[in-house]
């Protein structure tokens, strides 16, 4: 059973997606900020991470993504960035970048759970 780490400061989002992903056969662990998320990723070694961006501050998830990619224990875990940042900052377009924003996928919130599931399956299959 693949283990997924959800990092998001919105408890409703975490609860709904935990239930949905568990129903689809995944083990789900969660964290509510970047610092906690990074620690859990190191200890729990999940198969995939779904990471929010705007948490304690609006760019927190970006820094967490860089931290995850810069750490030996977590650098190869597939990383899906799930964020509403483009609703907040319409002028600048954020997109994955190998060095600057090292994530596998950038999904804009709101996203349908099925779409997220599809992306999770695709990323895990690649692994």
């Amino acid at each position: 059973m693949a283990k997924i780490l959800l990092i998001d400061d919105d408890p409703d989002f975490v609860d709904i997606h935990t239930a949905f992903l568990e129903k689809n056969g995944y083990e789900v662990i969660s964290a509510y900020d970047g610092k906690q998320g990074f620690q859990k990723a190191k200890v729990e070694k999940p198969d995939l991470i779904v990471l929010d961006v705007m948490m304690t501050d609006r760019t927190e998830g970006f820094y967490t993504a860089r931290q995850l990619r810069g750490d030996e224990d977590t650098k190869s875990i597939p990383l899906i960035l799930l964020t509403a940042i483009h609703q907040e900052e319409k002028a600048f377009h954020f997109a994955p970048d190998e060095v600057w924003l090292p994530v596998d996928v950038f999904l804009d919130k709101p996203v349908r759970p099925e779409r997220l599931l599809e992306e999770i399956k695709r990323r895990l299959k690649k692994e």
Partner: protein, 352 residues
Amino acid sequence: MKYLKLPKEKMDFFTFILHKFGEVHAPLKRGDGQFAFGKVPTWSEVALDYNRTILPPKKYFLRPVDTMFRFSQERGYEPIIEDGERRIILFGVHSCDIYSLKILDLVFAGKYVDNYYFTRRRQVGIIGIDCTPDEHCFCHSMRADSVSDGFDLFLSDLGDSYLALVGTSLGDDLVLAAGPLFQEVTRSDILEYKRRSNERRKAFKLEVELRDFAGIMEMEYGSSTWQELGEKCLSCGSCSMVCPTCYCYDVFDELNLDLLSGQRKRMWDSCLRREHALVAGGENFREHRSDRVKFRYYHKQRGFVAEYGRPSCVGCGRCIVACPAQIDIVKVIEKIRGEESGNYPVEHGAVR
């Protein structure tokens, strides 16, 4: 010089975009209301409204302890190749600290160019930011409260936004990368910039008169003030460690356990330390604390003026804050300028 406007609400995004150009370092909150330059972990830990950092930015260019090269019997001398082309963007540097780097540039570009220093200088981009002086700042007296060069980008507070002055091509690249976050400057922004610039001078609570001071130092070489200062000074060297323009270092070899190889290192030193002027045979040119504290003042306020045309002090106030004996450079200068310092004890051989 190109100038644009950056809304404060976009600063978090702008800071993250800076990571495209290198590792971003900025003033971060530390315990006891102190600040230190360090790698930015998240935007919320950046403190752009800081007064001063414990250590100045010189730590990025002249490291507290630095390995210069390795040596061994088999391979001889081996240069240290570290960090590759890793670039750092130092974000939120005050004018006085930018000015201090310009002073260090003069020193390290002297007769013997210091490539260790200049290699790092090339690898670090500087984004300056204006500040409000506190009770220990006297950079205005030292003409270091504003800079017109020495930065890639300089941000000045306009209230809801910053006016960004572009200083170099790197600064221009930073602005272009963040393109849509920046806005055109309006006439009212320019008026606000000028108003704040004029207001800023009035914010200084601490001023010191430096007119004719190099000459006065010359005349007061035998003043009893130096003896009094020597009795108070603990010779701990804290003032040198936190000083943005102190550049003395000690060179030593560190042998590996095989005793056949090792590293040559250099480490920050201070002229306040007894060993600083100790030479072979046990002779010490500055044996007494009063000799050493006096030397420090003469080097920074007199010798440097003769060599480079200005004192090697930028008025950042770090030495005032750091001194455990509460020696205050502004009060020392005032005392030397004042009439009461004109006392010449015989043992100090005053009038030369």
